[in-house]
């Protein structure tokens, strides 16, 4: 059986690709579309390193088939910055040193962006529960939480950028 042709939108741009039925969206992103920002940690939906948005909804790309992208809109870490200008969430992750090895960072940034679009003023507890599916084994999460809360405040216009 031949590969399946899929027409979709990735980071606002039309995209098409060919994939096998069993290929995950993560494999398509990394191996076919060469968007390697999304990482494979566990491949079973536990670690969140492959987080993307599907029609604006946060999902694990390892738990989605590539063929399911047909007619939908995908958002990845590569679509978060505007050209060379970092998104405020990315900038706050750097300012707060909210990463060490960096493997979980793309997934966390995508997850936090989805959180702040849904809830611009989360409590720290809400932020912690939201990212419970994004595992970081380096930072202990403290700096990540500071970066999230600071980015949220900046995006609400509460502090000078």
């Amino acid at each position: 059986m031949s590969k399946i042709h899929v027409t979709t939108t990735v980071n606002g741009e039309p995209a098409e690709f060919l994939c096998e039925p069993q290929e995950s969206m993560l494999d398509v992103l990394r191996d076919t579309l060469k968007l390697t920002g999304s990482k494979e940690g566990c491949g079973s939906g536990d670690c969140g390193a492959c987080s993307i948005t599907l029609d604006g909804r946060l999902v694990c790309s390892c738990l989605m088939l590539g063929v399911e992208a047909e007619g939908h809109s995908i958002g990845t870490i590569e679509g978060v910055a505007r050209g060379d200008e970092l998104h405020p969430i990315q900038r706050k992750f750097l300012e707060h040193a909210a990463l060490q090895c960096g493997f979980c960072t793309p997934g966390l940034i995508v997850a936090v962006k989805a959180l702040l679009e849904k809830n611009p003023n989360p409590t720290e507890t809400e932020a912690r529960f939201w990212i419970a599916g994004n595992l970081c084994r380096c930072t202990g999460y403290d700096k990540i939480l500071r970066a999230i809360m600071d980015a949220a405040a900046e995006l609400r216009g509460e502090v000078a950028a």
Binding site: Q22, L58, E68, E70, A114, G133
Partner: protein, 289 residues
């Protein structure tokens, strides 16, 4: 081994035809959060995946004259965002929203949680407690099945070849009716129930329980409807005698396994505690309605 094919039919008859016509194993896909893990690990090797999400009505929630219709493939995130359902069935919503992470919530569905047929499925005891009915479609037409009759054993359901769940029906809640779900896990998020408990109660105007359903998960091969637990609650205002009888009934209904998450003794004891606490929340919510 035959190669895998994928189909995303846009109608119920097309989906049935595909599922019934498959020579080998055909798997129904909703959110895919269990199916993709099983595909990858080799635990299942289907010849065909039928993605149901393009079937009209299978994703989404409708409020009708007689209650709620929840599309089988509706995600947990959508369930949690539906104000009407959150008000009417807070127990079902909280149970569904306990499944996995935010990312998993973006995809995981009631039909998937039910048909994966894990004894520890969080949404299932809650849906059974509130007398949820699954609308099953297949080659022989459509049938309404109480949700407690779907799972027959771990990993097994009563659905025949070619059948799948189209939607779930929940009755319109009565006055002073509400529900709750609690589970015990050793941490605060991202874990599988050691014991889960769903309780639905209806009170009269004086706060006396006139109807109840108590359902346990993760303490037997399938979810357990604890009839004696419901009897313990009916006629009471949830005094200590009723709670003690409920606790004993819940413990007596357990037939658990020993595993890394909990021993038999632990699960039995915790089932009683969970039943008490869940009933208290359901009573409080029902009284406030």
């Amino acid at each position: 081994m035959p190669r895998l094919s994928y189909a995303a039919p846009t109608s119920v008859p097309d989906a049935i035809k595909l599922l019934a016509g498959a020579a080998g194993l055909a798997k129904v896909m909703s959110g895919g959060t269990d199916l993709l893990v099983q595909l990858r690990s080799g635990r299942t090797s289907p010849e065909l995946i039928v993605d149901t999400k393009k079937i009209p009505g299978i994703v989404g929630i409708r409020e009708t004259e007689s209650g709620f219709v929840i599309g089988a493939a509706t995600s947990g995130a959508e369930i949690g965002e539906h104000a009407g359902l959150c008000a009417a069935y807070p127990g079902i919503v909280e149970a569904t929203n306990l499944i996995g992470s935010t990312q998993v919530q973006g995809r995981a569905s009631l039909a998937g949680n039910l048909c994966n047929a894990s004894p520890a499925a969080d949404s299932v005891p809650a849906v059974i407690a509130s007398r949820g009915v699954a609308i099953v479609v297949g080659p022989n037409g459509q049938r309404s099945v109480p949700v407690e009759q779907i799972v027959t054993a771990p990993g097994r359901t009563s659905l025949a070849k070619g059948e799948f769940i189209l939607e779930f029906h929940l009755p319109k809640p009565k006055a002073h009716q509400s529900d709750a779900y609690l589970r015990f896990i050793p941490r605060t998020e991202m874990d599988i129930a050691v014991v889960g408990c769903g309780v639905s109660v209806t009170l009269d105007d004086n706060g006396v329980c006139i109807d109840a359903r108590v359902v346990l998960g993760a303490v037997a091969p399938t979810q357990v409807v604890v009839e004696a637990g419901a009897k313990a609650l009916i006629g009471s205002k949830l005094d200590e005698a009723a709670l003690a009888a409920l606790d004993a009934a819940a413990r007596a209904a357990c037939n658990p396994i020993n595993d890394k998450r909990g021993t038999i003794d632990f699960r039995v004891k915790v089932a009683g505690v969970m039943a008490r606490r869940t009933a208290a929340i359901a009573f409080e919510r029902a009284g406030a309605r």
